[in-house]
Each structure stands twice: as C-alpha cells, then as structure tokens.
C-alpha cells in the first residue's frame, strides 16, 4: 500500500502531471517552460518569496516604517536622505508608492529643468545652493557600484532676470540677500546688457541681475533615474499603486494652556493596486506626502481640513493642480550659444535648447486665465496671444519663429504664498509634507529631501532651518512670499 501511494504521489506515468505538462503547455515551448522552472526554483530556494498559491510580488509589504506617497523627485529625494542619514544602516524600511511608473503626468519630467539661486527668500537661496552642490557632486552622492556615472547635462549658462523701473528696487534688495547667502550674482545696467547680449532690446528694462555661476538648466529625467537607481540599491521598496485611504486613530489631549486638541495618528495606508480592486493595508509609522500636484487630495484623505473653517482642524493644505504650457520653437536668427535663461518683467521666459537655434519658453497665466487642469492638452492660442508678443518685443529676432512642439505640465501650486510646505502637520502628527513648491520643486528637491529626513529622524531641522515653511503658517496667516515666481 505504501508503494502504491508513493507511485500515485510521484505520478510520472502517462497521466502524471509533471512540471512539463503543467497547464497543458506544449513541449515545443521550451524557452517559456525553462524560465518558469527557473522562477519556481528561485522562489523555493531561501531568499526568494515562497508563495505556493499565487504570486504576490506586485503587492506592497504588509508593514513599513515610512510610506512615501509619490515617487517623483521630491519623494525619491526624501527616501534617499532617509536611507543615508539613518543610524544604524538598514534600520528603517521605506516604501515609495507611485501610481504611474511611466511618470507621464509627473511634474518632474515635464519640467524645463532650470536651477537658480535668484530668490528673495533666504531659505530658498540656501536650498538652491545646496541643491546645486548636490548636482555637481552627483556621482559621489548617487554612485552605485558597477553602474556608469550619471551625466545630468548641466548647462551652466546662468539666469538673466530683467526688471522694469518698478521692480528695480526689489531686485537690488533681492541681490543683496542672495549675495549674503553666497550666490554669485551681478547687477547690470541696460548699456552693459546691450554690450553683453546685443540681441536684447532693453526698452523698459531698468536693471538686470545675472547669475554668473551655479545657475542654468539640466536634465530632470536623468536626476530622477539616478535617484531611483540609487534608492533601490539602498533597499527602498517600490510599489505601483494609489493611496486610497488612511486609517488613523484619535487622541483627545490637552495643551499646556488647557485647550483641548484632537491629535490624529495614521496607522494604516490602504494602497490600491493599479487597474484592480485589490488593495493592501500597509501598517506604517510615518507617512510623507510628496504627491506633488495631487498633495491636496492626499491630505484630504488624511482628514486635514475637515473641521470648521478658521480653526486649525479646518485649515486645508492649499496645494492645487495648475496647468502650465511649455513651447519649443525654432528661430534661425536667434541668440547664440551664450543665451542664458532669460526672464522678462512680464513673466515670459525662454532658454536655449541644444545647438540648433531651438528655444524653450512659456509664461505663467494670470489668475483669471488659468486653464482647466483636467487634462494636459496644449492651448496654442495662448502662445500667440500671451507668450509671443512680449518675446518678440524683448528679442527682435523672435519676430520670425516657428513653433516646433509644445507640452503641458502641472505645478503643485501653493495658493497661499507659492512656496513649499515642509515638515509635520500639527494635528495629524505622523504626516510630513514635502510639496507645494509651485514650479521650483525640482531645483530644491535634494535640499528639501534632506530637511524632511532630518525632521523625521532628529525631530528638528539641522542644516537649513525651514521653520518658516511649516504647515502652521496657513493657520497663523504668515505668508512667506516670493517675488520671483515664474
């Protein structure tokens, strides 16, 4: 009887179901079967995930110390610095949840890629200075063994900001602040401007500020891929899914002055898998909201802003989607190799792209003309009406140009003061923000990532003090206004 059961169990007879005839595959499909056999062996051997029933490798882990919502440059930067600054090595499990692995609507890859230190808020200048240092030494920071070094194609051509009579005094103040922080910016009069860049029409320009070093533009896709590669090698887990729910608990507590506050703590993040109804609850200790233009929606899921207006519970995260257009045109008589990133007093900007007299540029629409952010369709009339006239007036060579292509991208626009939100929420105590940079998130990402990681690991900012960028300013009304938003 024992022998018979053994024979039945092994089943190598004509009716037996060995590996080769599993699922009725034909014997001619040798390569497919070989890879399946290898996959099965790999899952059985120690080190692989052994799941005999079905493959769950697409699901996120059941628990993770930090969950980062959003896998763009800010999210990956926070993941990188968390892994770099953690003690001891390998102590923290980080999970990055990104719902679009092609990054088709992410602000990072649709960005023009500029980086400058010419801001009016000192913290912004410090953030940019650290970020440019990071980009210069990117192969020391993001080196992965056996992989080729990164080339972010940085063009050190500088930014040229033009100011009219009204803005000249503000520009001088700004340059003073920038120089104090260590940026290398020089002020130019209209004659000096004409000498240096003969293609500019200086009518209406009273003053110009030109960044000599550490300013220019680079390839954001390369930075993103470099961060992704490094962060994966450091052991950060990635998941392709969307955050649909936060499960949190509340604690009614009293402040020192006797006031009652309701402190919430997120315990679980429900991650819904793409194109499926399946979701995985991930237990977490800390959630980082780096969802870019969609951060407002993620914050609402956590219950931020659900309360009577005018109170701290009722203060929403004021980050919205705003659509911006970028146009690429060709102008054979246009400015040459020395063209910096020029920003007109009217808000129009352009920069050189490549060696073939192609230029990228655009303009920020006013509040009334904000386009509908429901899709990423480009409005070419906007170029004709709002972008081309100021351009042609500033650079006469641009009167004859031909638009080659255009695209649209989202700003994670902070409607309160157009500057970033960094740090924990006062009531939902384990949600940290790294969002709302309204168009300059890419250039400040490395520094912001480090600041958020310091906040998470140490509890306070160590290198750059971003306490003026905390969430509580939306409730107390202290605006950190930046005068140079493009």
């Amino acid at each position: 009887m024992l022998r018979r059961t053994l024979l039945l169990g092994l089943g190598r007879g004509p009716l037996g179901r060995g590996l080769g005839t599993h699922r009725g595959g034909s014997i001619l499909d040798r390569d497919g079967k070989m890879s399946e056999i290898k996959k099965k062996i790999r899952s059985i051997l120690p080190g692989g995930d052994w799941n005999p029933l079905y493959d769950t490798s697409y699901l996120p882990p059941e628990s993770s110390d930090v969950v980062i919502v959003g896998g763009g440059v800010l999210g990956l930067s926070v993941a990188y610095w968390l892994k770099k600054l953690e003690k001891p090595r390998g102590a923290i499990r980080v999970l990055v949840v990104e719902r679009d692995h092609t990054y088709s609507r992410a602000s990072t890859v649709l960005s023009v890629g500029g980086i400058r230190q010419q801001f009016s808020v000192p913290e912004n200048v410090q953030l940019s200075i650290f970020s440019i240092d990071f980009l210069r030494n990117i192969n020391e920071y993001l080196a992965v063994a056996d992989d080729p070094p990164l080339d972010i194609q940085f063009n050190p051509s500088g930014y040229l900001l033009l100011a009219s009579e009204k803005g000249a005094a503000i520009m001088e103040n700004n340059v003073k602040v920038q120089r104090q922080e260590g940026a290398k910016v020089c002020l130019m009069s209209p004659e000096q401007l004409r000498n240096k860049f003969p293609w500019i029409n200086t009518e209406g320009v009273a003053l110009a500020s030109y960044g000599m070093e550490h300013e220019g533009w680079f390839d954001p896709w390369c930075l993103l891929q470099g961060l992704r590669r490094k962060v994966q090698s450091m052991g950060v887990l990635f998941c392709r899914g969307e955050v649909t729910r936060f499960v949190s608990s509340s604690n009614l507590m009293k402040t020192a002055s006797g006031e009652e506050v309701n402190l919430k703590r997120i315990h679980e993040v429900h991650v819904k898998i793409d194109q499926s109804l399946e979701y995985q609850p991930v237990e977490c200790a800390i959630v980082i909201n780096a969802a870019g233009a969609w951060s407002g929606q993620v914050a609402e899921l956590a219950g931020i802003g659900k309360g009577p207006p005018g109170t701290l519970q009722g203060t929403k995260l004021p980050v919205e989607l705003r659509k911006r257009y970028v146009y690429l045109w060709h102008c054979p008589q246009g400015p040459g190799l020395e063209t910096p990133f020029v920003i007109d007093p009217s808000g129009t900007y352009f920069r050189r792209e490549g060696l073939g007299h192609n230029y990228l540029g655009g303009c920020s629409p006013t509040e009334e003309e904000e386009p509908d952010p429901g899709n990423l369709e480009v409005d070419h009339d906007f170029f004709q009406d709002r972008v081309w006239p100021p351009l042609a007036q500033r650079v006469p060579a641009f009167e004859t140009l031909k638009v080659r292509s255009a695209w649209a991208g989202y700003y994670d626009y902070n409607t309160f003061d157009q500057n970033g939100v960094v740090g924990p929420h006062p009531l939902v105590i384990n949600m940290y923000f790294a969002t709302g940079f309204s168009g300059h998130g890419l250039q400040q990402a490395p520094a912001v990532g480090r600041a958020v990681a310091e906040m998470v690991l140490e509890g306070h900012f160590q290198t750059i003090n971003l306490s003026s960028f905390l969430f509580s300013r939306f409730y107390s009304g202290e605006k950190v206004q930046e005068h140079n938003i493009i």
Binding site: K38, I41, R42, L45, P46, G47, G48, R136, E140, A145, D146, D147, P148, P149, L150, D151, I152, Q153, F154, N155, P156, S157, G158, K196, M212, E213, H214, G216, D219, C222, Q225, G226, R228, R229, Q232, S233, G235, L237, F238, G336, L337, E338, R352, L355
Partner: protein, 328 residues
C-alpha cells in the same frame, strides 16, 4: 571560463564578454543569499553583461562573428555616459580612468574582481575602498595651500600648487619653471611675492573644481593651458569668469569631460584671443560647436575641429600636439 583566442581586436572583446555572460547567467540562478534580495529588486540592469546574457544563452561554442556583430549593432543601454578618457597615457592618472569611465574596462583582471565582488562582501568592500582612495588622492592634490597663501601671497601659492601638480608656471619677465622628471622643483620662486604669474601650463594635471581656487587668485593670468586634464569639466569652465579681464589664451584640447554646454559659458572671457577646443570627445557635434563658439567670441581665434569633420567617419584622431613651452 577559458575561451579560445580570436583573430582581430574587436572580436577579441567577445570572449571576455562571453565569460561574463556565462558568469552572470550562472549568478542569476544561484543567487540565494537573503541579503542579496535587494539586487533582485533592481531596475532593469544597465550593465553590458546582462544585456548580452539575454541574447546569448550559455554556449561557448556559438558563432563568434555573429555575436560580435550583435554586440556592435545593439550597444548596451546606459544612462548618459561620461565620455571615456581617450588618451589613456595621461600623466600619473592611468588608474583614474576607471573612475572616469568604468564602461571602458573590458580587461580580464577587472572582470575577475567584479566576479569576486559580486560574491563576497569583503572583496566588494575592498573594491569600494580602492575606489575611494583614488578619489581622495585627487582631492588631496587639489587642497588649498592656505599657509603659503598667507605667508607669501596668492601668486606664490598658485605657482606652488601648479608645480606640485606637475605643471609649469611662468612669472612675468622670467622663463618657465617646471618640475623635473621626479617631480622636484626649486623653491626660488618663493621670493617673487609681488611678481604676477602670466602663464600656466597645467596639461595633464589632476586639477578639479576645488583646485581652481588657487588658479583664480592669479589675477594677471594671460595664458592658461588645460590640455588633457581628466577632471576639468563644464562646472570648472563656469568658474573661469574672474579671469576675464586678463586671460588671452585658453587651451582645452583633449579634456574628456568638457562639452559644448561648458563652452557656452566662455563668453564671459571677452579678452580672449586664442582658444583651442580641438579633440573634445564629449562634444556632440564638434564642427557646429566650433562655428557657434566663433560667433560667440568674435575677436577670438578658435582652433578646433574642422567644420566638415562631422561629415567624415572615424572618431579616432591623433592627439593634437599644440606647441608647449620650451623647457628653461
């Protein structure tokens, strides 16, 4: 792993790569350590070996020419690669070519180290340590000589820096001073505290972004030769603008990291009369770049690639022997 020798140079690359592909296919099936699970979660590999392992199954006896053709027609995917050092014989920095362009390492010794490093943490740590030592050597060479600067002034400090790196210096009204074969140089320039430095020949030296601090203090520098410097890149070029009022001659021939993006910020140097931008492997279209640079610097004579070069085939070019200073 023994592979028979092949006939020509190009095809002889493939035995090593075959060996690597055999090794990597083996590695994929045997990789059992739990701590290595992070490598399995890596994004699609950008290594040359793994790309080839997919198309060449284990089989050393395959048609060699076919493999070589496949290699050449389907180059391995990579992120934006830094251009490899074309002149491997740069002074004292042969080991650093690996730091600059690891893709160029197809030597047998290197793949053995790679093989071992993938399996043993000790070897991986050793390899990382060696790499870091090489990088720190370059940093050490580019340290600022603050004590000399305070005591003797910026000109002497700059001259000392260049001579220590192996370059040559010419003070105003004097002859070139350069170190001898063994790197020793006489210190009698220490008394020239008020004499400005007029010309610097830093060809082949390991000057990088930090090291330029010492050079930028030389306010009356007229001629700067940075030929074949392996660490001079676009960032360094953007730093040259303080020398704009005096610099008349600049040579960047053969620097492997300089590209047209760095050349775009040379327009600050309005006094420049001679610019040499020949043999820059990282420049994508040398002829067009030369034309654009000539337009950007109208009063400067630009020595560069022939405008018709892009129409010719063949990237191999002999190093341009620009006239260096005659030894004193």
């Amino acid at each position: 792993m023994a592979a028979p020798k092949a006939v020509s140079d190009r095809i002889s690359m493939s035995p090593q790569i075959e060996a690597c592909s055999a090794v990597s296919a083996f590695r994929v099936s045997v990789n059992t350590q739990e701590a290595r699970s992070k490598r399995q979660q890596k994004a699609s590999p950008t290594k040359a070996r793994d790309g080839i392992a997919d198309t060449h199954p284990l089989g050393v006896g395959k048609d060699r020419t076919l493999q070589a053709q496949r290699l050449l027609s389907h180059p391995p995917q990579s992120l934006h690669l830094v251009a490899p050092v074309w002149n491997g014989g740069t002074r004292g920095i042969s080991g650093l070519s690996r730091v600059v362009a690891p893709k160029g390492n197809q030597k047998k010794g290197r793949s053995l180290l790679q093989f071992l490093a993938d399996r043993f943490y000790d070897v991986e740590a050793l390899r990382d340590h060696l790499l870091r030592k090489r990088v720190s050597k370059v940093h050490q060479k580019n340290r600022p000589f603050n004590h000399i600067n305070q005591r003797y002034g910026p000109y002497v400090a700059g001259a000392y820096f260049i001579l220590k790196q192996g370059g040559a210096v010419r003070f105003q009204g004097r002859e070139w001073s350069r170190p001898n074969q063994r790197g020793h140089f006489s210190l009698d320039f220490l008394k020239l505290q008020a004499v400005p430095v007029e010309a610097v020949d830093a060809s082949g030296c390991a000057i990088n972004y930090q090291g330029l601090d010492s050079l930028l203090a030389l306010k009356e520098l007229q001629s700067l030769w940075l030929q074949r410097c392996p660490h001079v890149d676009d960032w360094c070029l953007s730093r040259l603008h303080p020398l704009a009022s005096s610099l008349q001659e600049l040579s960047l021939a053969g620097c492997p990291r300089v590209s047209e993006r760095g050349l775009a910020c040379l327009h600050h140097l309005w006094n420049l009369r001679r610019l040499d931008i020949s043999d820059l492997p990282a420049v994508s279209s040398p002829g067009l770049t030369r034309i654009l640079v000539e337009e950007m610097l109208p009063s400067c004579e630009v020595l560069g690639a022939d405008w018709a070069q892009d129409l010719k085939l063949g990237p191999e070019e002999q190093p341009r022997d620009t006239a260096g200073p005659t030894p004193a």
